[in-house]
Structures are given as C-alpha cells and as structure tokens.
C-alpha cells in the first residue's frame, strides 16, 4: 500500500522537511517565522493581510514557472527514456537564439509569426540536443559530458550571434514584433498588469502531451523500453538507436520551448547573458521533485517558481532573500536522499503493522 503512494509521499515529505529547515534557520537567527508563511502565501495567491488582494503576484508566479516547467518536462522526458539531458541549459539558450532570430528576421503575418517563433525555439533546442544524441549512438559518448560542454558553447556562441542581429545593443536585441510575441492584454488585465502571457496555455498543452505520449502511445512505449534496456529493446525489434536520438531531441525541443517562452513572453527581446541563468539545471530539480511525471513536474515547477518569486516579498518583510534558496536546496536534498526517507517510512509503517497484528494476536 505504501508503494502505491510512495511517488506522492516522498516529495511531500521532502517539501515539508525543506520548509522545516527554513523555519529552523529563521528561528535560530531570531527572525519572524510567520513572515515566511505570509510571504509565501502572498507570492502564491496575492493575499496579504491588511491590503487588497493583488492578482499580480500569482500572475508573475506563473510567468516564472512557465520556463521552469518546460525545462522540468525536458529533463523528465529524457530521464524516462533512460538519459540524463544535462545539456538542457544549452538547449534553452540556443532555443532562445533561434526564436529571437526567427522573430526578427522572418516577418510573417498575424499569429503565424508567434507560432513560427515558438517552433523555431523548440527546433533549435532539438537540434542542439541532436549533437549529444548522435554522439552517444555512434561513438558511445556519454550525453552528460557532451551536454555540459555544449552548454558553454551555447552560452558564449549565442552571445556572439545575438550581438550581430540587426538593432542589437551591448545587452540585448531589438524588441521582437508584437505579433511574434505571446503577450496577452487579456491575461495581463485579469492579473493586475502582470507579464502573464499565452505561454501558460502552451505549457499546459505541453504537459498534457508529455503525459499522453509517454504513458499512452506505442511511440512512448518504444522510447521507454529503449531507455530501460537498450539491448532488450533491440531484441524486441525496436530501432533502439533511432529511439535514443528521438528521445533526446524531444527533450531538447521542450528545453528549446523554454527559450521561446523567455523571448516571446517573459521578455520580448533576446538577451546577452553574462552567465548561465541555469534554467536547465533548475529543470533537473523540478523533474526530480516532480517524480518525472507530467502533473508532478507541473506542480513542482510552480513550487520552485513560488520560492523564487517570494524572495523579494520576504526581503521587504525583513527576511533575507536567501531563505528561498535555502528551502529549495533543502527540498532537492531531501528528494535526493529519498532512500533514507523511504527507509524511515518503511520502518514506521512496519512498526504500525506489527503493533496492529500483535494487538490482534492479543485479542
């Protein structure tokens, strides 16, 4: 019975423990623990005692969550197919470059521009992921090594290309055409002028497709089989090499979409990055806490976004902003040591069972 709910219980326990660590640190430092929770509540819902409901907060929360969910889906997809796509960060960056270049260089009418830009980002990510994929299949090189190296290539290489796009300054490109962006007056207006954009719809669709492809289709079956046991899949008649490349390219496509979201939604221009913004690496945490399943990733993306947007609120309340990072790192830590959590859960569960059965015996 415990096994069945393990996937839900373990992340929940990790989240609670993570919050406890945060509280403990505040207590030791003599800070107001209550402010932590009211800050988180405000970040999540916009409710703050003594002032009006401000939906701008949940709006911004979603804006932050969208790229995180995409990279979470990217890492999760690769993981379900037996790969560790640590190169997702580079795929986000290259995806951004492709999206912004498409938006600036290919004028299309109406919503076609937005759709084209979106796909350009995704395809960019997929192409960037193809490199570790083909190297893995042809030369048996670990996708982790090539992925990490390509992250740097993407970071510095893309900065060069962003700089030479027409209208670029030293820090960013020109603004993309309005019809290439995902900005939404409607979504913005219902969330008190937040930057909330149509990307929220795209990410929901992507999450549903993720679930459907992995769990429900023969294509997903094939990719999962290859991921678990490549030789076994080959024996079964599955084209295993092709599956490996497709898996990581789909993962790259999702990471590339995170790049599109940054260009089309969060900002409306491409940026020159001084250092990695680590969306790809945050995606690892999101996927890990979300147990690599669709709904889990969506929720854990929201959680990490919440911890990140609450930082400024907490700072205003006199709590150091680092507390958000402490909590999210603790959560990751506790999920990573899930075997220890499992061990204690199993033990207490068994004890209960034993207690019950000995009571029965006594009766």
């Amino acid at each position: 019975m415990l096994k069945k709910y393990e996937k839900i219980i373990i992340p929940l326990v990790a989240i609670i423990l993570g919050l406890l660590v945060g509280m403990l640190i505040l207590l030791v430092s003599g800070l107001d623990v209550g402010a932590l929770f009211s800050g988180l509540l405000q970040g999540a819902t916009g409710i703050k005692s003594g002032s009006d409901l401000n939906l701008r907060y949940p709006g911004e929360l979603l804006v932050t969550a969208i790229p995180l969910i995409f990279t979470g889906l990217a890492i999760g997809f690769a993981y379900r197919c037996g790969m560790f796509n640590i190169g997702a960060d580079g795929q986000v960056i290259f995806g951004s470059l492709c999206a912004v270049s498409f938006a600036l260089l290919v004028p299309l009418p109406g919503p076609l521009a937005a759709i084209g830009t979106l796909l350009a980002g995704g395809l960019g990510g997929a192409i960037w992921a193809f490199i570790p994929g083909i190297l893995k299949v042809k030369f048996n090189i670990s996708e982790v090594v090539t992925g990490i190296m390509l992250n740097y290539v993407a970071l510095y290489g893309c900065n060069y290309f962003i700089r030479i796009l027409p209208g670029s300054t030293d820090t960013k490109t020109a603004e993309i055409p309005l019809n290439a962006s995902l900005e939404s007056e409607f979504l913005s207006s219902i969330t008190n002028n937040s930057r909330l954009h149509w990307g929220i719809v795209v990410v929901i669709i992507a999450t549903i497709l993720y679930w459907f492809i992995i769990e429900k289709t023969s294509f997903g079956y094939q990719l999962r089989a290859t991921g678990f046991n490549k030789e076994g899949a080959r024996y079964a008649g599955i084209k295993a090499d092709r599956s490996v490349i497709l898996s990581i390219m789909i993962s790259g496509f999702l990471a590339g979409l995170a790049g599109s979201m940054l260009v089309q939604g969060t900002f409306t221009w491409g940026r020159i990055l001084v250092a990695s913004e680590s969306y790809g690496f945050d995606g690892i945490a999101v996927a890990l806490v979300g147990g690599c399943n669709a709904l889990g990733i969506f929720l854990s993306g929201l959680l990490f976004a919440l911890l990140s947007v609450s930082e400024t609120i907490l700072q205003v309340a006199g709590i150091p902003r680092e507390i958000g990072q402490i909590i999210s790192s603790s959560i990751i830590f506790f999920v990573a040591i899930q075997y220890i959590i499992k061990f204690f859960l199993d033990r207490s569960f068994k004890k209960k069972k034993r207690a019950v059965s000995s009571k029965e015996e006594a009766a």
Partner: protein, 506 residues
Amino acid sequence: MDYAIEMLHVTKEFPGIIANDDVTIRVKKGTIHALLGENGAGKSTLMSILFGMYQPNRGEIKVNGKTVVINDPNVANDLGIGMVHQHFKLVDIYTAAENIILGREDKSMFGPLSFANASKKIKELGERYGLYVDPDMKVEDMTVGMQQRVEILKMLYRDSDILIFDEPTAVLTPQEIDELMEIMKNLKNEGKTIVLITHKLKEIKRVADVCTVLRRGKVIDTIDVASTSESEMAKLMVGRDVEFKVDKKEHEFGDVVLKVEHLNVKNARGLSAVKDLSFDIRKGEILGIAGIDGNGQTELVYALTGLSKVESGKVYLNGKDITDLSIYDHYEAGLSHVPEDRHRHGLILDFKLKENYIVHSYDKAPFCKHGVLDNKEIDKYASRLTEEFDVRSGQGIETIARSMSGGNQQKAIIAREVDRSSDLMIIVQPTRGLDVGAIEYIHNRIVNERNKGRAILLVSFELDEILSLSDRIAVMFSGEITGVKKAEETNEHELGLLMAGGHSNA
C-alpha cells in the same frame, strides 16, 4: 564425530522476504554435505552468511565447535573456510601461480615477487589432490575446468579446510564433471570438509554423504544420500512428485523450415566465431545444439535472429531469404526467440509483466490503434498468458519484472514466444538456473510445440536437456559442427567427446 560447521537457528530476513527461516545445519568433519533446493530456497544466502557476506538476524554459527562471528570474508578465510564461486574470481591475464598467490605474496620489502616457494607448494598441493594445473599458464588460455582447478588450489593454498562449492558443474563438460567429482572425493579423503550447493540430483548421488534439503527458506529434511533415491530427493525439494521423462512421441517431420547454408559469423572482437555452418530443421523437429559455452552458439543464434550481422552465407526461413533482414522483419517472417540472457534481452526488467508480454506486438492491433495503446486489450491478453502459463508474481500482471523470480521470468518469456505461434522457434538455455519443477513444465511446453509442428532450434549447455528433448543433436566446437547424431542413437559420453573437439569416429 566432530562437526566442522554448525549453523544453528539461523534466520535472515530481507525486506519483504525471509530467506532463511530458523535454519539449522550441521556438517560433519571430513564429509561432503550437499545443500539442495529450488531457486530462491535460500541455499546461497545461507552460504553467504557462512562466508561472511551477510549477517544473520538471529542464530549462531560454530566452526569446529567454537562460536564465531563472521562479519567479513577475510574472517571466514582465517577460520579456514574457502568458497569456489559460480563465476570464477580470477585475473585473466595472470598465470595460475600469480592468481593463486594473489594477496598472499612472498616478497622482500623492495625485491621482486618470489615464486619459488609458491610454485613448490602449488605443485605439492596439485599432486596430493590430483589437481593438475600448469602454474605458468595464463588463465585466459585455460579451459573452464582448468580455471576451476585454479580456484580450488587458491583455497587450498590458503589452508582452507572447509570448502564451499557454489553450483560448480554448471559450466563444465561431462568429462570435466567426472574429474571434478574425483577431485572432491580426493579432498574428502584427505580430511577436507565440503559443502556442495547444487540442484542437480545426480551429482549429489555421486559424491555427497549427507544432503540437507531447503524449501522456501526452511530446512525440510537432512537425509542420508546413500539410502535415498533421486526421485525422493526431488520430491523433498519441490514438495510434489516430479516426472523426469518428457513424453515425446515419434512422428514424421514435415517440410524444411529453417535452412542454413555456409554461414560465417564474426564475434564482437572481430574473430571468426561461426565457421561455414550448414544445417536444416524440419517441421515438428527439435534440433539440439550441444556444446560448451563459448563455442559459437551465441553468435550463431544472434546471426539467425538478426541481432548481429552475417559475414557470409545464407539463412532461409520457409524458403525466404532472411539473411539480411532487420530484427523486426525476422519476427515478421515467422520466428520467435527465447534468448540466452533473459535480463539483457528477454525482458525489460523495469517494465511491468504485462508490458513485457507485448514487446514484439506493442505496435500492432489489437494492442495499439492509431499509435495509442489499448490498455484493456493489453490487460486481457496479459491475464490470459499469465493464467495459461502459470506465471506467478506478487502483483499479477502489474508486477515489475525485476521483482519476479528467475523461474517465473523465464516462464513469462516462454509464454510470450510460444504464444506468437511462429513456424520457427529458437530457444536458448530455456531452463538455466531453474529448479526441477519449472524445468519439467518448460520442457513439456517445448515438446508440445514440436508436436504441433513447429521447427525448434534448441541451444543448451545442459546435455541432459539436449538428450531428452532433441530429435537430432548437432555438437558445436570452436564454431564448427563436429557431429550430428540422432538423439536415440547417441549418449552422453559420445557427445561429451565431440564437445571437447574430438571426433566420434576417432
């Protein structure tokens, strides 16, 4: 008489399973004591406890009458307990002598290793126990039987008095088994105590004095071997009567199903592994391929099933050239394949049982419509196979394959491959590591398929299996067929000679 080993009321629990439940065995000094049991009966766990690899939850261990705590294999070594593992633990590129002294080297502080003393001792030991090994030969150049002798010498060199043999005959030819049995008797006569883990009744009958039967972690009985028959032992082990003979009727064979012509295959290292093989199999016929592991059988099967490329030659299935088809198209042409390695090929271990049933057909109706899996159909099919083939597992068709026992994993694979009703079945090592109950079942299934008119290629390293199932037997040695015999016209001895590279007319 004194006891060399006493394990008293030993209990070892693993999460969710009790591997040893209040097990008590007493091994007398200077005897050969067999441990008999099905897979998962707890034999290996018990010996791992004795060898210091696991700690028991409860119970006491006495060696030579003294209570001891063995929490490390080194402690076991110091107590004079040695173990010959099923998979040898030797360094291939070292010589026999180097392997034997490894960890016990004579050396001066800065000087080179000294082999003088070691070689002398190895020679003495070899002569005393009839263990003939060339101390300067590299392990990689040795036959499996010789490697095993090196392992035994390694224990003797360390002055072990209590020797544990874990399934020692699994990898040997009949002649090598004979030699091993002699060696074990010699060791006994020289005062050594031996514990023999096995599920082969014949071997127990030949060498053991006493046999303890384990079933589901419990001691069922400890018996005197001389006064107990094989079938009685089998009954104790399985818990019911076991039929040893397979019911196989004579019948006419039909058309040629598989035809192999001048087949050449290279192995992973690029060396020639199958050399100019030609043979055919007819409808309703079982062709057994006998031979010692590593004589080209694996490469032959890989080539026939498309898993590896054919160097030259042709393979025809029902007259159609399938030599260069993809793996997928091999299956489409009418082939099923029970692979040698059930974990590497046969199963996706992290998939559920039901998902493992459809590895060949996940993309076909009725399991898949327009690319979407139909879980209802899959469940229905999986339940039927599970019931029909009596595949047992914790959570039925939802069980993760990894958590199933070896026997049931194998039954699941057999179920899947048999149910595909292919004209040609290639079956490799169908019963490796299984207990007599499961073997009986699987053998009957294979013969049943033969009787239905399938052509079957059976590859096995177990001569008994080959002899009792096959209609014709081809012996492979070093990539070539050294002889083809009718099953009823040959015997273990003749096949054993062929397997070792001799010719039957020599």
